[in-house]
Symmetry: C2
Subunit: 473 residues, 2 copies
């Protein structure tokens, strides 16, 4: 886990006072589910970002929508911030109590409320994690594809508009959240969306809440799309002479409309880290890790096409993983890349970029980022959901050497500005949080951010919902 | 085209005064592109809905974003409504100037601004129609799949969150609009979204604008996803003993994950209308009209699966249309069903439902709607994008017989309430407009509509952007 990183990168706002009367009110309502313990508060004041811990004043362990509603209502009376907390795996400082306040831990809201196999839908409480969901619905023959690296909570994944390795085929949380139950800034409980696959009924509040990082409401129920487990699944790895060749292969696949389910880039550094961490023996060279879903015939056909295109770009050593065990091992290794790299560099912290660019620009962006990192002499690795145009270059920095931190931030800045210049975004799936507020303005323009502020003020006039995230207010 | 229908179904609000100084200002700025002619105003005060014409006070023919921005700015100074107008094909009264004001005709903004085949993207002005777009990009090997019945403008399609026959495979405007340029209520020009396929950069303003029916901003540019033309396409029709059997087939296809591209239900009445209008000789019985996209092998495999499932449900007379000409003829006929039915009932107007329900509920909903219409003795037909759970039962009513109108409205009410009761929506793709404002409250709850109102007030404090649509304010 990352510990403290540059406070100079965090906007400074004085914490708001939390009156004793609020704490008293919460204690009456929640009893020993209210915690003021330092260790509990510290745990809730951090995430996987490189920011220093900013503990909340108190933590309430919510077990129901009514709990969330009552806690928000009490906090609202005193204009005190509330920050929803799932598993603590976000990467942009979303959970830090930069203005103080109450952390609403929803991890105990971990019930799968309704599985509707015939409608390919499930409704869950926000604390259910993605792995738990897939475990519990295994018997239905369905699965939920969105898989950020961590075993995140589905409420948190909705709040950050998360995606992962399957997005190229199945979309992100944007496409896969069908409906929500949300507690508003006044503690009211509302519902957005229905169980219908599509709707033109008024403003798309579901998608306004998805990605709003807890700043517009607290998510208390999530209705998600499920998918039939594919009849056939096959994973493959293929090595390339360099990142450019691997990405060129990807670009061609996407342009041809090959319905590939996963298409992940790992540079040689990432493969090395994954090898050591997961005790694999992959060749330590630039690699695409792919997966194909469909009927047996369709999977075979896709694989054939991919192999041909990869060969044209110098791809070699095409290897198949057809058993579920082999596949699981490969994908588990891929998901652990972040921690694997940190294990290789003990004491280091990770500064991760998250740009997403139009697919035609991806090779240039990846190659330039790689070159700059090499020139800067910082340990780094690249993993990418390249089918989407999204890649992460991560820099490992020694927190005792501020110049490394500065170099990483300077590299990050170049990666982001290059992405924005070619029509891309500063964040494909991690969110804005604390770190990218300036980039958001660069990307969208001040007028667009001002529109976001207008929406925030309208729905949260006291600015109590995860204040200080996405933009200063 | 429909003419006048029940004014008692329209919320009454007095038109706001349009001061002579505004008209003067518009004339100075726009010259003869400002029209006060009655015929022009009448044309802009109607759509394909069964509502009586409500002409705007003036029409401005906009040719650029700056035109739109300047017109909105002038209108805002006088708190006068503005209503964007594309092709006039909406179905829920969206274009009616119920509070008076200025119609901003954007049909001359019909340029395709940028085609990026390598990124599978296109940026268009809002007046480009869906057919024009597909015509102009034909050489790229790409297509844009969203196809409401009418040859609507892409700005209008974004504003109503339209879909059509391809949504089961390719999604709706919700999934296919990647970015927008929007003129705000103050006349400012902002951009939402980027050219990246996914993003977690702040609030999803793109999807807030998509489906907002012109009430939050005027769309002046739309960036859309394109798709590679499938290598193989095959269409098929299959007849069924009744609607229940056709829908049961559809449900099973969806639950199995067959990647069908189009799956349309036509009841016998719809087939009859289509036969007469398009001079076809289809058997006049309940029918599924389907299309399969993919590689030749994948299309063959899908077709085989569908044929087997259909047979289990009594489907027979499977017929193939493999040439582009045959397919085009069938789909053109399908798209003309609305007009075909009106041609069969001269002088009648159409009251169309647009419910969308969870797929498991679809058979019950379709069968009940059919039975009720038969019992009521009203001419009717059913067409449905049944792969999405969306179907339209349309009632043809004689405007000189108010009791028919009332019966149609009573039937509509039952269809909608049944959809809402089983977790569906009152509108899958047509929007709320004027007619469904009560249904919106029934569907989402008063608290949710109040949240929509808060957003509207925040972005349009003078209530000038298509006021009176979606909800009263």
């Amino acid at each position: 886990m990352n510990a403290a990183l540059p406070t100079h990168l965090m906007p400074h706002v004085d914490p708001r006072p939390v009156p004793a009367s609020l704490i008293d009110g919460l204690r009456v309502r929640f009893g020993d589910r209210l915690s003021l313990a330092a260790a509990v508060r510290e745990q809730h004041g951090r995430d996987e970002s490189p920011f220093a811990v900013r503990p909340p004043d108190a933590v309430v362990f919510c077990e129901s929508t009514t709990d969330v509603s009552d806690a928000v209502r009490l906090a609202a009376e005193h204009a005190v911030p509330v920050i929803a907390y799932g598993t603590g795996s976000s990467l942009e400082g979303h959970l830090l109590a930069v203005q103080g306040g109450i952390s609403l831990d929803v991890s105990r809201m971990d019930k799968i409320l309704k599985v509707s196999p015939e409608d390919l839908l499930v409704t869950v409480q926000p604390g259910v994690t993605r792995e738990q969901l897939n475990r519990e619905i295994r018997d239905t023959g369905l699965f939920f594809p969105i898989d950020p690296g961590a075993n995140a909570s589905l409420g948190g994944m909705a709040a950050t508009r998360a995606s992962g390795t399957n997005a190229v085929r199945y979309g992100t949380m944007r496409e896969n959240v069908l409906a929500l139950e949300v507690v508003t800034a006044s503690g009211e409980v509302i519902r957005t969306g229905t169980r219908a696959r599509k709707s033109s009924a008024g403003y798309d509040l579901t998608r306004l809440m998805v990605g709003s990082e807890g700043t517009l409401g607290v998510i208390t129920e999530v209705t998600l799309k499920l998918y039939p487990l594919p009849e056939a699944v096959s994973a493959a790895i293929c090595h390339f002479p360099d990142e450019g060749a691997a990405v060129a292969t990807t670009i061609q696949l996407i342009q041809l409309g090959v319905p590939i389910a996963r298409c992940e880039l790992l540079d040689a550094n990432a493969v090395t880290a994954v090898n050591r961490h997961a005790k694999l023996a992959l060749r330590e060279a630039t690699m695409l890790l792919m997966e194909f879903h469909g009927s047996p015939a369709s999977v075979a056909e896709q694989a054939q096409t991919v192999q041909e295109i990869a060969s044209e770009h110098g791809g070699e050593d095409f290897e198949w993983a057809t058993t579920p065990e082999e596949r699981s091992k490969l994908w588990a290794a891929r998901h652990q890349a972040y921690f694997a790299a940190m294990t290789m560099h003990p004491g280091c912290r990770t500064v991760t970029t998250d740009t997403c660019v139009p697919i035609s620009q991806l090779a240039d962006c990846v190659v330039a980022a790689k070159r700059e990192a090499q020139e800067a002499g910082l340990p780094h690795y690249i993993v990418g959901h390249v089918g989407d145009g999204n890649f992460h270059i991560a820099y490992l920095v020694n927190p005792d050497r501020p110049e490394e931190r500065d170099r990483a931030e300077a590299l990050n800045e170049r990666v982001v500005q290059r992405a924005i210049a070619c029509g891309g975004t500063c964040t494909g799936e991690h969110g804005i949080g604390l770190h990218k507020q300036g980039f958001l303005v660069d990307e969208t323009g001040a007028g667009t951010v001002e529109m976001m502020r207008l929406l925030k003020r309208a729905l949260d006039p006291k600015n109590i919902l995860n204040p200080g995230k996405i933009f200063a207010l």
